[in-house]
């Protein structure tokens, strides 16, 4: 049995108040005189009363007794008694709250979403927070956010808790756990309370130095939503739109789909997702394809209209922005005849320079060059052939010899379907002594093809631009004469198309909207779907930084009130849409199972004493004012 404890034992001096209460009671006990015709009956009453009521003395001072009980209850309430939970509690309690998109799911008919229910549980913990205990609130969605330091200020905790909203992003549990890991280095705690609906990644790649108390919220609301949306250009003016619809595995779901292009419906479909036969193991899904005409830039919006109850609303809409259709601009010097010849076969590619006096293009998507320096025009994707980057001059030399390809990354977009076996080359890149592959990676290069003495093809990403380095010159190799050469050039073109978003577009996911290229050194205001305003500045190159996008919808970039860009963000998270809940989180060495037991906390008793004091007050009032008993009507 746990004996009650007291948080404020220092208030025990209040018991001294009983003394003045008793003194004042008896001092004030001055009987008012009342003249009556005769004492005859009253004397008889007193005599009978003494005979009939052995507790007369007790009853005589009933008011004093009630007042003492009232005061005792108030003093005990001031002592803040509590019933210990039976376990030793840590003084510091971090609470990790999942506020990813699935926490916005509504499972009950009262309209409360999962986050609201969790907030009620946490609020109860805050209300019962012992005076010498401190609590810290952390939220985790796609990233973790620490809302409060360890504090015992309940108002601060309540305000922070009330401010938590659902982020319409996929959950990344790792972030929150790592933040808790960082906290434990500054404040010692043994347990982390994690409130979630269980819709989190099942595997965590590290272990925790503290216990994870996994509080999983049960929920079985049916849901259907869009989890994938991308577009691929099928011709100069036509795009194929690919959609994936998924639903919860434990219920049959159905929906009507509407595809809107710039606000007008251009396609509708019906979807019926059967309940998974093996229950929660397989996620029911369906792929759909639409075809739309689009020459200029246009915005597509896919709306899912569920037929029946739908737990999660944020996955019922997705946005994708189609770019303006145009030919790919490729610059290849005239001396690279093999490349120009291969490029000339592509109808969607404009090869520059067209002739010796031709006008250069405004911008280039692909540059193929065998020289370095500022003479080369700028392009998003650059293919250097027979060029050693300046920063690799210390690592590699090119010797004349007989080189050949030993191995290459066949799944690389540049080299897929390209057969490099038996390609002979006069240039033989040779790695200097004591230089390893890791040294190239440290410089930011990825080796795509290996020769006998060193790397042959390298890849490097610099900001938004992409560069491939052929350390040998194809003109001094048998590569242009191989069947794989046109395929290689086609892969180059495809890489440029992908980089320019001309061939395939994927819908942006919520979380972060990547930086955009706008007018240099300008002030922009981004209006978010939840009516927030984010002010950003573009740098001298016109690049504005990426912004946090935790809401599904369209983000409008405005300059002096004028709309200059609009980008849609969609949830597109299969895990969130499925609302699948995991019972166990697997860490690197241990696993944590969700706890079914409610969290035990010290039970404060002061409200009961306060209630008892109020009851005694009412009884005293009633006793003082009551109609005498036994009076005939």
């Amino acid at each position: 049995m746990n004996w009650p404890g007291f948080y404020s034992l220092g208030n025990a001096w209040l018991f001294v108040l009983l003394i003045p209460l008793i003194i004042v009671y008896f001092l004030k006990l001055k009987r008012p005189r009342k003249e009556i015709p005769s004492l005859t009956l009253w004397r008889q009453v007193i005599n009978d009363q003494r005979v009939n009521s052995p507790f007369q003395k007790f009853k005589r001072n009933m008011l004093l007794l009630l007042q003492m009980l009232l005061l005792l209850c108030l003093i005990l309430a001031a002592l803040q008694p509590f019933l210990p939970a039976g376990v030793e509690q840590a003084n510091y309690t971090p609470i990790l709250i999942d506020n990813s998109a699935s926490m916005g799911a509504v499972d009950q008919s009262n309209g409360q979403n999962r986050l609201d229910i969790v907030k009620q549980d946490v609020l109860e913990l805050i209300d019962n927070l012992p005076p010498d205990h401190r609590m810290s609130l952390i939220t985790v969605s796609s990233s973790a956010r620490r809302l409060t330091d360890f504090t015992d200020n309940k108002r601060v905790l309540r305000d922070a808790l009330a401010g938590i909203e659902v982020d319409e992003v996929a959950s990344q549990l790792d972030d929150g756990l790592r933040m808790a890991q960082a906290l434990v280095r500054t404040v010692r705690f043994d347990s982390l309370l994690f409130f979630t609906d269980g819709n989190v990644p099942a595997d965590v790649e590290f272990d925790l130095p503290f216990e994870l108390n996994y509080q999983r919220l049960e929920g079985q609301g049916a849901n259907i939503g869009v989890t994938s949306l991308n577009a691929r250009r099928s011709s100069d003016s036509r795009w194929d739109i690919f959609v994936r619809i998924e639903g919860t595995p434990y219920a049959q779901t159905a929906a009507e789909l509407e595809l809107l292009q710039d606000g007008e419906i251009v396609g509708t479909e019906s979807v019926l997702l059967e309940r998974a036969a093996d229950d929660e193991q397989t996620i029911p899904s369906q792929r759909l394809a639409f075809s739309v005409d689009s020459v200029g830039p246009s915005s597509l919006e896919l709306r899912v209209k569920p037929d029946g109850f739908d737990a999660l609303a944020s996955d019922n809409v997705a946005h994708i922005d189609l770019p303006e259709s145009r030919h790919l601009s490729v610059y290849a010097p005239l001396n690279l005849a093999a490349f120009r010849h291969a490029l000339g076969a592509r109808p969607d590619v404009d090869v520059y320079p067209t002739d010796e006096s031709g006008q250069p293009a405004a911008r280039y998507d692909l540059l193929i060059t065998d020289t370095t320096g500022e003479a080369n025009p700028e392009a998003n994707v650059t293919i250097y052939v027979g060029v050693i980057p300046d920063d690799l001059s210390e690592l590699i030399d090119v010797e004349t010899g007989s080189g050949e390809v030993v191995d290459w990354q066949r799944n690389s977009p540049l080299l897929q379907h390209v057969e490099l076996t038996d390609v002979q080359m006069a240039d033989e890149p040779k790695t200097k002594d004591e230089i390893r592959d890791g040294d190239f990676e440290e410089q930011g290069y990825e080796i795509l093809a290996f020769g006998r003495t060193g790397p042959l093809i390298l890849k490097k990403r610099q900001g938004k631009s992409l560069a491939y380095y052929f350390l040998f010159h194809p003109d001094r190799s048998t590569l242009p004469y191989r069947v794989g050469f046109p395929i290689l050039v086609a892969n180059m073109v495809q890489a440029a198309l992908d980089h320019a978003d001309l061939a395939e577009v994927r819908a942006n996911r919520t979380g972060i909207i990547a930086g955009q290229t706008l007018r240099p050194e300008s002030h922009y205001v981004v209006e978010t779907p939840d009516d927030q305003r984010i002010e950003i500045e573009s740098n001298e190159e016109g690049l504005v930084p990426g912004i946090s996008a935790n809401r599904v919808g369209r983000y409008q970039y405005r300059e002096s009130g004028d709309l200059v860009a609009e980008i849609g963000a969609s949830l597109l998270a299969p895990a969130e849409t499925s609302l699948r809940s995991i019972r166990e989180i697997q860490f690197r060495e241990v696993s944590v199972t969700s706890s079914d037991a409610a969290i035990e906390t010290d039970q404060p008793l002061w409200p009961y004493f306060a209630l008892a004091a109020f009851a005694f007050l009412l009884v005293e009032w009633w006793y003082f004012q009551k109609r005498p008993g036994g009076v005939p009507v």
Partner: protein
Amino acid sequence: MSDSAGGVQFTSLLDNDVIGRIERMRLNPSRRLTNRSHGEHLAGKGGTSTEFSDYRDYVPGDDVRYVDWNIFSRLNRPYLKLYQHEEEMHVAILVDASTSMLFENKLLRARQLAAAFGIMGFMNYERVSVHVAHQADGEPRVMPPCTGRINFKRMFEFLESIEGGGDAPIESSIEAMLRRHRGRGIAIILSDFLSMGNVQRAMNMLFSAGLETFAIQILGPSEIEPEVTGDLRFVDSETGGTLDISSAGDLLGLYHELRLSYEDELALICRQRNGRFMVLNSTDSVEWLLFDALVRRGWIQ
């Protein structure tokens, strides 16, 4: 003294119209407790009243004035007509004028009732006497027995002159009254009967004296429905004695039990001695008491 119509008001105790109605009423004793002196009450024995009783054969020596000559002329035999004897009844009214009767118009109501009973007595040629008790050891003030309507004014003046105050217990007052009273009839006791003494002994003496007891206990609202709470110190109005009461509200139930049982006891004492008892609230109107309550109980008719 004048009434609202401009006429003379006989007394401040009762309105003239009430007096007029009372004059047509009479006391209704359950027993014939009369005196030998001539009066208005039939004595159950032969007499000289106009109330026919019976016939009997004439015997020599009978007063020939009572021979029924009509029968003699038809039967040729003398028969004597017998008449009932009407005797006088005494009405002794005792008004308790102690200090306890000064509360809540109790004494006023007692004086009004005494006046009403006196009027009934005078109008029926009873011998009416009024006794007023004040001090415990002193003799009551007395209006000597008298009869006839001519004594209205005398009685009204006597009753109007009563001033309350004193500590006379009712049983002592009854005994003092009986020391002076002679004659059988009715004793009307108007008191609150709040006495610690032996009322039973006084009632026995009334019965022995040939007086049928009409006991009327007059209580005020504070005695019938006391509204007291908390801790109080009660002070006796007559003796000045005090009694401390705690949680008076709790005792009211017991108070009512005792009051009702005391009333029952008084009623039993009176009933066992062929008397009558009733309790009046001093706030009840005298008209209601006279023309409704007492009539329905058969005290007057």
